[in-house]
């Protein structure tokens, strides 16, 4: 038996990847859905206090409801109203993308639809549904209809 030499731990690709390095990958469409699923989840996580603030003000009293609605026009503190609207739009997109991509996961789990073609076509469907709904709700938010 050959003398065993201590082997240095092999570095596997992606093992020590930092979050910022994930942005440098040229991803297939299914990979885009996946990383944006993550990004949208993190966005909602960090904006959770704002979401609860909206919930609090919108239901607590008529006075707080007015404060809630006026935040989208007059802003909150030094933050102007259109920035609040943009943040709300980001949340709308994040929720829709996360939810549709989540349903895609459940569908893949339930039907074992894990081929390359299915991954791509369901990714297209995910983007189509979430982006169209985001545009519609965003147009409503910014008063286009």
């Amino acid at each position: 038996m050959a003398e065993t030499t201590p082997t240095s731990p092999r570095v596997r690709p992606g093992e020590n990847m930092r979050l910022i390095e994930a942005l440098q990958y040229r991803l297939p469409l299914a990979g885009m859905v996946s990383i944006l699923h993550r990004a949208s989840g993190m966005l909602m996580f960090f904006l959770l206090p704002f979401i609860v603030w909206m919930f609090d003000n919108s239901v607590s009293s008529e006075i707080s409801f007015d404060a809630f609605t006026s935040a989208f026009v007059a802003g909150i503190g030094f933050v102007p109203g259109f920035v609040i609207k943009l943040v709300a739009l980001a949340l709308i997109w994040a929720y829709l993308h996360h939810a549709v991509a989540g349903v895609r996961h459940l569908w893949m789990d339930a039907t074992h639809s894990v081929t390359k073609q299915q991954g791509r076509s369901s990714a297209v469907a995910t983007f189509a549904i979430s982006i169209v709904l985001t545009i519609v709700l965003g147009a409503k938010l910014f008063g286009l209809f």
């Binding site: 994930a22 996580f45 239901v59």
Partner: protein, 120 residues
Amino acid sequence: MAVNYGSKRVVVGAHYGLRDWLSQRITAVLMALFTLVLLLQFVFGGPVGYDSWSAIFSRQWMKVLTFVVILSLAWHAWVGMRDVWMDYIKPVGLRLLAQVFTIVWLVGCAGWAVQVLWRL
């Protein structure tokens, strides 16, 4: 279930993530159903305004459902954020810090939301 603690702990093999995987999916389904229920009440609840909006959350069954969804969201986000920290943060101390922050953040937000809900 295999022994998951002590010196007899099986440190290799599958199923370690099964509970997280399953709970993330169950909480996701609960939140999706809640979204549909809320959307239906919003659409068919009459003119949009404070009265119709707050009335949705003042019904007892909706409070119970919302309460469950708040807890589901916190659990779901915990599993997801833990995955993210485990993938991208290697130093143990920093990862622990991120995980503790996540729990504090989620428990704090959930507590606030529950307070808002049950004082209606």
